[in-house]
Every structure is written in structure tokens, then in C-alpha cells.
């Protein structure tokens, strides 16, 4: 194990005072390597606390750039790094916090092509991603390589955390053998998230990772923590190994990494694409032209009512996505319609629902009302 310098002994003195950590534990952290998937809401507190705690080598995987809409929750970044690569922005912040550690940045999409190579070099993976394909990939690579996967996930006021470690308990697939159908569960980009929520869940993930690296305490292996910020409630449910689990069960069907985008039915990376497919899309500029010509057209806004206060199109009718199926009788398949949401994702699903119900004269506003703000009318804010 590596020795600690006098400088390090002073820096980590509050750890060295805890008998469960002490000098041996701190050396153990120094010789450890943790991989953080996603340098976003969860990845921010995870990476900050692991760096502060003195985890010797931290890997960061992200393929995005810092956007000002990230800063409400992604506290590792700052206004000064808007537009920079997230991994580089985070790396600079972590090294400022603790110059004695190594931070390895992977500015590449985490995929079946590179996951084994990247994860193989670390002791533990912390899953702070924002999409299902990457979550299944993180799980599977950890099972195949025998590494613990510290899981956290968030939506609005709800958070979940667990440690999936097939050697000692269930894996993510034991609980969720398959992802929900595309569109059932909105992402944070569509549904929103309380900014402080990933702080709570990410800090729990960092706690679990540090405990696992130190080999102390009772971990969340075999337990799922369910947190609700609005009710300030913490509940636990027991998780058991699924004997039929396709990857960690006794007769695994999944023995290598698969094509997760196809498995999940959604793309893993381009999560804000907002397109229903070329033939079904209408661009903001095309829609503006139709409105200018006074073409007969119904505008169906499938967002939630409170979003209308942020931006809306004149004459649009509100049909929140969750109500659309039961309100079909209010629509007429003979009329031309354009479905609208914030960025084109929910409206793409609304279109799918309408088409499956027999509607054909319907188009999706590609990129949503945000595209309208960017391409047609800058008086409307982008959110």
C-alpha cells in the first residue's frame, strides 16, 4: 500500500481520526480506483466526494458538454465551463479540490465496444447515467467482470439507490429484467428534477462506494433505498437474486455485452433528439409557414399544464400525454394535427399513440417548442 505524505496526513486528518478508516483505510482509498459513469447530476457529488476523500484514481465517462440548464444540479461544473466538455470541466474542478489524485477523462460514448476495456481498469463503478441503455450496460459489464455497481437514479422528487454486486447479491437485471416500454417513464429532460435531489442520492452513492472500497459497514447490497424529497421519506425494500436472471443466474443467456439501444428501444446517447422519424416530423419553420398560410390545422400540446406558463403557441390545445389515450374522442382523424411538447420527445410518443389509434394526418414538431424558440420566435424562452 502507498504511504501518505505529511501533507496528506494533514489533509485527511478527520478520516484518520475515525477508527473505521484510520491510516490503513486512507492508504486503501489512495490505492483505489473508481469509475463514475456520467458527469451530471449524480456524477457531480459522487466525483466531488470521492476526490475529496482521497480515492487515488477517478475515471469519468461522459460525452456531453456543459449547458447552462445543467447548473441547477450539476454542481461539479460552473458558469465558466459552459460549453466545455463535461469530463474536462469536472476534471479541472476535482484536481482543484484535490491535486493529489489522478483523474482520467473518457470523452466517449460508453458502449459495448469500450465498456470492458474502461471498467476493467477500476475497482468499482458508480452509475450516474441518465438513460436505460447505459444502465443495463453498466450492470452487465460489472457482472461479467465481477465488480460492484453503485446504483443511483432520480426523477422529480424520487430517488433510488442500491449496490448491485452479483458476487454477493442481486444485480440490476434481477430487479429489472427488461426496461419499461419506451415512453412510459419520462426522462429528467422531459419530466424535470429537483436540483438538490441528485445531491442526496449521489452523496449516498459516494458513501456506499467509499464503504465498499474500505470494506466497512453494511452496504446496500440486497436492499433498494427509495427516497422521496417531497415527503422526506426513506423506505427500503429487500432485493433477492433472481434465479432466472439472464446474466447473473445459474444459466445465463447474456454472456457478453449486447446492443443496448435495440434492447431498450431507445437511443442511449442522443436523448434529446426529439424526432418521430423523418416522414412524421414537421420542422418549426415549416409549421410557421403553414400557420402563416392559415392552413386548417389543430395544434395539440401534450405537455403538462404548468409548462404553458413558460412558453406556448397561440391556439394550441392542451392534451397532456398521460390523458391523450382517454381523450381521443375529442380529436378528429380527418383533420390535420401537429403534436407539440418541449423538445419533441413526448410529442413523438403522442404521435405513436395517435398513429396506432388510426390517425394519419398528424405530424410531430421536431425539437418541440424549444426548436420554435430557436428557429422561429426568439421571444419564447428555451427551457
Amino acid at each position: 500500500m502507498p504511504e501518505l505524505s505529511h501533507e496528506e496526513i494533514l489533509r485527511y486528518s478527520r478520516h484518520l481520526l475515525i477508527p473505521e478508516v484510520g491510516l490503513e483505510g486512507q492508504k486503501r482509498l489512495k490505492s483505489s480506483a473508481a469509475l463514475v459513469i456520467g458527469a451530471g447530476g449524480l456524477g457531480s457529488p459522487v466525483a466531488l466526494y470521492l476526490a475529496a476523500a482521497g480515492v487515488g484514481r477517478i475515471g469519468l465517462v461522459d460525452y456531453d458538454v456543459v449547458d447552462s440548464s445543467n447548473l441547477q444540479r450539476q454542481v461539479v461544473h460552473g458558469t465558466g465551463t459552459v460549453g466545455r466538455l463535461k469530463v474536462e470541466s469536472a476534471r479541472a474542478r476535482l484536481l482543484d479540490l484535490n491535486p493529489g489524485i489522478r483523474v482520467e477523462a473518457y470523452n466517449e460514448p460508453f458502449s459495448s465496444a469500450n465498456a470492458m476495456r474502461i471498467v476493467g481498469d477500476y475497482d468499482i463503478l458508480i452509475d450516474g447515467t441518465d438513460n436505460f441503455p447505459t444502465r443495463y450496460l453498466s450492470n452487465d459489464v460489472c457482472v461479467l467482470l465481477g465488480k460492484p455497481n453503485v446504483y443511483g437514479s432520480i426523477f422529480r422528487f424520487d430517488g433510488q439507490a442500491s449496490v448491485f454486486y452479483a458476487k454477493e447479491g442481486p444485480c440490476y437485471r434481477c430487479l429489472f429484467p427488461e426496461p419499461p416500454p419506451p415512453g412510459l417513464v419520462p426522462s429528467c429532460a422531459e419530466g424535470g428534477v429537483l436540483g438538490v435531489l441528485p445531491g442526496t442520492i449521489g452523496t449516498i452513492q459516494a458513501t456506499e462506494a467509499i464503504k465498499m472500497l474500505l470494506g466497512i459497514g453494511s452496504s446496500l447490497v440486497g436492499r433498494l433505498l427509495l427516497y422521496n424529497a417531497l415527503e422526506m421519506s426513506f423506505e427500503y425494500v429487500k432485493l433477492k437474486k433472481n434465479p432466472n436472471c439472464k446474466i447473473c443466474g445459474p444459466h445465463p443467456e447474456v454472456t457478453g455485452l449486447i446492443d443496448y439501444d435495440a434492447f431498450c428501444g431507445v437511443p442511449g446517447m442522443d436523448h434529446e433528439q426529439g424526432s418521430a422519424g423523418m416522414d412524421w416530423d414537421i420542422t418549426a419553420v415549416e409549421l410557421a409557414e403553414k400557420i402563416r398560410r392559415s392552413d386548417p390545422l389543430r395544434l395539440i400540446d401534450v405537455r403538462e399544464p404548468h409548462e404553458l406558463a413558460i412558453s406556448s403557441l397561440s391556439g394550441a390545445e392542451l392534451f397532456p400525454l398521460g390523458q391523450l389515450a382517454s381523450r381521443l374522442p375529442e380529436l378528429d382523424s380527418a383533420q390535420e394535427m401537429v403534436v407539440i411538447c418541449k423538445s419533441g420527445m413526448r410529442s413523438a410518443r403522442a404521435l405513436e399513440l395517435l398513429v396506432s389509434a388510426g390517425f394519419r394526418k398528424v405530424r410531430n414538431l421536431k425539437g418541440g417548442i424549444n426548436a420554435w424558440s430557436r428557429e422561429v420566435d426568439a421571444r419564447l424562452p428555451v427551457y
Binding site: 437514479s153 424520487d158 422521496n228 382517454s326
Partner: protein, 90 residues
Amino acid sequence: MPVLKMPTPLRSYVDGQAEVTVTGATVGEAMQSLVTQFPALKAHLYNGEGQLRPFVNLFIGESNIKDLQGLGTSLGEDDKLLLVPSIAGG
């Protein structure tokens, strides 16, 4: 009557309610009661063969019904059924 705690991501399908009162002596009957009240949920929670989709996890207390008697698990009048959603935000 038993209640089903609805996770936030699915509340838009049940008029925004946090808890839905259901009827039935088993978990299976309670879930049928849920989708009868809110038909839009049916296609999401059940597959074409009328079975609950594998991502749907229901708990009574701390126990997953998959570790009990599945949909046949009996449900008491005062039981709370918890639907644990699959969420991916980060």
C-alpha cells in the same frame, strides 16, 4: 380497502394521485382493479398475453411479490402495495 402507492412517473396516468384505492383479495386482482379504473395503464403494465411486464415490481412491506406467491399473493384490507418504478434519470 388496500391501496396501491403510485410512483411519481406513473401518476399522470392516474389523475395525479399518489395512492389509488384498489379492490381484490390478491395482488393480481388489485392490479386488474387498477387497470380497470385507468385503462391507459394496461398496455404499459401488461404484455399481450395478459401477464405483468417484467419491469413491474410490486412490494408488500419490504418483500417483492416475486419472492412471495406472485400475483396470487393475498392482500389484506389494510395492505399497502408499492409499485417500484424503473427510472433512469441521473
